[in-house]
Symmetry: C3
Subunit: 426 residues, 3 copies
């Protein structure tokens, strides 16, 4: 690969202003206030814990943020090879004037203090957005989020539905649903009405997607009315559901969500493959893993039943990427969406990005989302993706297929931004 070519294409990609189509940003507190917000990201707490830092030292109640960062930094040398730490260092360099090789017990306090000072500036959030070239940021909103007190044209609501599909038997879920919709949900019809009200509320507030994360063994299917009534009623009455009943309840709610996505013309983000709480003693958000024995064939009924709903699909296991490529190539309503979590490291992104660019129509690929909890992470994460994308465009398209650089850059723009606009109807 010509280094000059790569650099020219990268420069073009870096000039692009972004819409981040999936994050966990809290719009009321989007940017960090101390370095502990950055290093409290589960990637660092779980990795530090994985190399021996006890959970109670990380999650000690009332722990001072600075003390917390100090404890994490002690373990950082064991992780410095990871892509995750490279994001951290890029944040410190780009935002906090850090020029060292590594954050160490000797130098971290200065970075901490610089960060605190910068973050205390009243326009810090705007500074981060600007420096990161971020124009709009998708959220992950609980179904009972009031969606008030923030600019929904900057922070785009996204209706997250895991609780409804997988935790409806919990009393608190039912209470939250009743409270926000005024519906009692003692029957399937009432539950459907309640869900409809959520869609009304969200569409009135600029929602651009419905979203859910799904375990590897989930296989959505329609549930007939009688059965739906039985399981919804039983759940409402607080009775314990059998495995089959629990599955049917999840299927009923999921299918109902898809129906409303169709009615409200809303894309339904599927994030497929996560098992929750596999490592029960892990740190907060550092307990989930997966079973790679999953297939998109489990979603064939869904994709067939809702031709008018666009499904941006993320897969957790890298071994699912080829299925994602193939299903997006065949189904008009399936599009590829980002590089999720355990697949979000350069070795896998490169292979997956390459295969998608070679076989999925260019208009059906959402290249990347940051999945961030704090705004500062968009910069290094998108930077990582842009470098890989520039490499693939240079090697496969300009050198391999004789494309003009301009044309290769256009493909990069589609992937990075253009498709986000068209798929989510921005």
């Amino acid at each position: 690969m010509s280094q000059e070519l790569y650099q020219r294409i990268l420069t073009e990609l870096e000039s692009l202003v972004l819409i981040d189509p999936h994050t966990h940003i809290n719009p009321h507190s989007a940017a960090s206030t101390t370095l502990a917000d950055i290093m409290g990201y589960h990637y660092y707490t779980e990795l530090a814990h994985s190399t021996g830092l006890p959970k109670d030292q990380i999650e000690e109640p009332g722990l001072d943020p600075k003390e917390k960062v100090g404890r994490l930094v002690e373990k950082l040398h064991t992780l410095e090879n990871t892509a995750q730490v490279s994001w951290l260092l890029e944040i410190c360099r780009e935002f906090f004037d850090f020029d060292g090789e590594m954050l160490t017990p000797k130098n971290w306090e200065q970075v901490y203090d610089t960060a605190s000072a910068k973050m205390a500036q009243p326009d810090w959030e705007q500074q981060v957005l600007k420096q990161s070239k971020l124009e709009q940021v998708f959220l992950t909103n609980d179904f009972d989020d009031p969606l008030e007190g923030f600019d929904t044209s900057l922070y785009i609501p996204c209706l997250r539905t895991d609780d409804l599909v997988f935790h409806l038997t919990k009393p608190e879920t039912q209470e939250r649903l009743q409270k926000v919709t005024g519906e009692i949900c003692g029957s399937a019809d009432e539950l459907r009405t309640a869900i409809g009200k959520l869609f009304e509320h969200f569409t009135a507030n600029n929602v651009k997607a419905c979203a859910i994360s799904l375990p590897p063994d989930f296989a959505p299917a329609p549930v007939d009315a009688a059965r739906a009534h039985t399981v919804v009623t039983k759940a409402h009455q607080g009775k314990e559901l059998s495995c089959d009943e629990s599955r049917d309840l999840s299927c009923f709610v999921f299918w109902t969500l898809a129906e409303f996505c169709s009615e409200y013309n809303l894309p339904f983000d599927l994030m497929i493959g996560v098992n929750r709480r596999v490592y029960e003693e892990g740190v907060y958000q550092g307990q989930d893993l997966y079973d790679k024995r999953t297939s998109l064939i489990q979603y064939s009924k869904l994709f067939n039943a809702f031709p008018n709903v666009t499904f941006p699909v993320s897969v957790l296991s890298q071994t699912s990427n080829q299925e994602l490529v193939s299903y997006s190539w065949i189904f008009p309503n399936v599009v590829t969406n980002g590089h999720w979590w355990y697949s979000n490291i350069p070795a896998y992104i490169e292979l997956d990005c390459r295969s998608r660019l070679q076989a999925v129509p260019q208009t059906k690929q959402i290249g990347y989302y940051s999945d961030m909890y704090k705004l500062e992470f968009a910069l290094p994460k998108f930077a990582m993706y842009r470098r890989i994308l520039a490499k693939v465009l240079s090697e496969d398209f300009v050198q391999g297929r004789g494309w003009s650089e301009e044309k290769a850059v256009s493909l990069g723009h589609l992937t990075l931004r253009g498709n986000v606009e068209t798929i989510f109807q921005m």
Copy 2:
């Protein structure tokens, strides 16, 4: 990688005259008559449909070929990143004097007309064979193909057996079988006799392989005589078979085919892993997908039971490639066969080609087949493979292991042609 080295090796590989060991060519109409034959290939219709072209616009009864191409070209810009479109452009450039960057609504008509004129030349088929350096082309013949009216030393018959194994309960299959063999097939013995007659007919006509495509959950096993009799009789009587009976019927027919392959010394091509009609509303041949949860362990009984039958194995899921490498490394009767369908894109071919060349005996690898429906596709598809093969030979063998270029090219020749001759006993 030295570009000069790569180019020298590629030039050597390009000089080689080929035998294409698996295609869907109709020997009575091997080459195209209009560009619609080219663009009607399911890769283009399904991809165009995947980006929004309605099925009924593609498959409208009585649709004029030129009009069809025009409609597909309208969608082509959305696909121009795909490897599949790169084949199309290479065809247009190599055969139809096209020198543009992309086929567009503005320039396609000229290409269409040039193509029509060239295809109307009486020796077009021979021109394509010659320019593509194709010496022999394997077919995919229905079991009741009369194998008449074409040169079986150029177009090599291959007995395709999907209908027998998976659709024997259909009345039309039974009728076709009875018509071509004269056997009534009311019992397992009669069915076996009928199948034997197919092998007689095909071997009398230069057949070089038996072949079948198989769903991901198929696991061949012998079926005892009594059970075989029961299920064959029931199928013959038109009674509905249970799941288990249906499976046993498939197993019995499949096992019988393997027995005849042994008796007639015929390789049995297994194309493993396709689920048919997953996307039910898809275009013709654009409905099939797969479940990656399949394993070659399902074939261990078969490979053990038929040591004298060579099984050239293709896998649909790229995640099956390592199993294919390992099973070919251990079982004397298993050989690797090409890069099939959803795995037939450069990103996956390169990884799979590399692992095969590193771990499977060089005499047990069939590098590539085109899988084409029209002759014009051999050129760009084999060109894609040759480029990847030249890259792997240059990097891994000449540079990585110090092989002479001559020796690396010999390995390339084995993979591209030599092994086809020995494995299929040409």
Copy 3:
């Protein structure tokens, strides 16, 4: 990649003295006595058999070693592309003054004779250790190995437990266990006592790991006392166990081993994913394959139940590598271990090495083990790994992330040696 950078890093890695953390070396006969010991390695016999050399020509009783090598060499040209043959040639070049391109029927006898002469030197074993830069070598010891007559500080004992977990119903296993422990094992308690005595014996002899290879469908779980008693008693009485009973017996023994690993502070090497005797007519050690449909989720109970036991995990299927990366990233007690068997070829090592270095803490990676049966194999196998490691360090860390060469080499040292010392408490 800069070739000079790569070469500098490789040179540094090559200077490192090694501990080989997993081999099948017989400490009483560690080095080879003829070239037949080298070429009798199952990689060559199985590959030669795979290309047509009959098993009985390889395993003929009383076969002269030289004659055996001659027969294998006849088939070697069909394998010369394989990584395995590249190891053989590197051995011949590095140890036996071979300077040819390939071992052939014409030149092999001279190599054979040179090898025999060198191997007859009284210090051959020491020469090999020194030239291979091997300081310590882990063994694979049967549970009833007396561990006598060799230097356990050079050849490190490792308690291999496959027989106990999967073959306890065999009378010979029970007899061996009774003989070595003096326990009758008619009850679960007695069996536990016997296993405890094995740990006592091994820890008294410098054992550094417990190890086992596991089939793809194994899912360890605790077994309650009553059930354990039932199945152990039944096994002791020689009664045939049902599938469920057999599984529970295996689980009970396995879980008991993990308990003793915890008590004796011993890492437990898990080698996950092998199906034994898939190709029943294969040569010795050339019959095993696998089913890629396996997941580390099957081990979640185990990893949760034994937080104090370190589990160095090897996976047979390359498609399991990402799970291994993810589980090592989350679970403090899971570490990555080498590149096993069918995954031990450059194409897969490179991808797996890259992903591990990008996402698993650097202190939790055991880069490589040779798995060798004869000492001469450490040199070419570690050389292969070092080249790949040097490539990944050069490309991803020095060039990709701007690391200093010194720092990249330090990461290489950790992977190659440092982590072996800390994880196995050398």
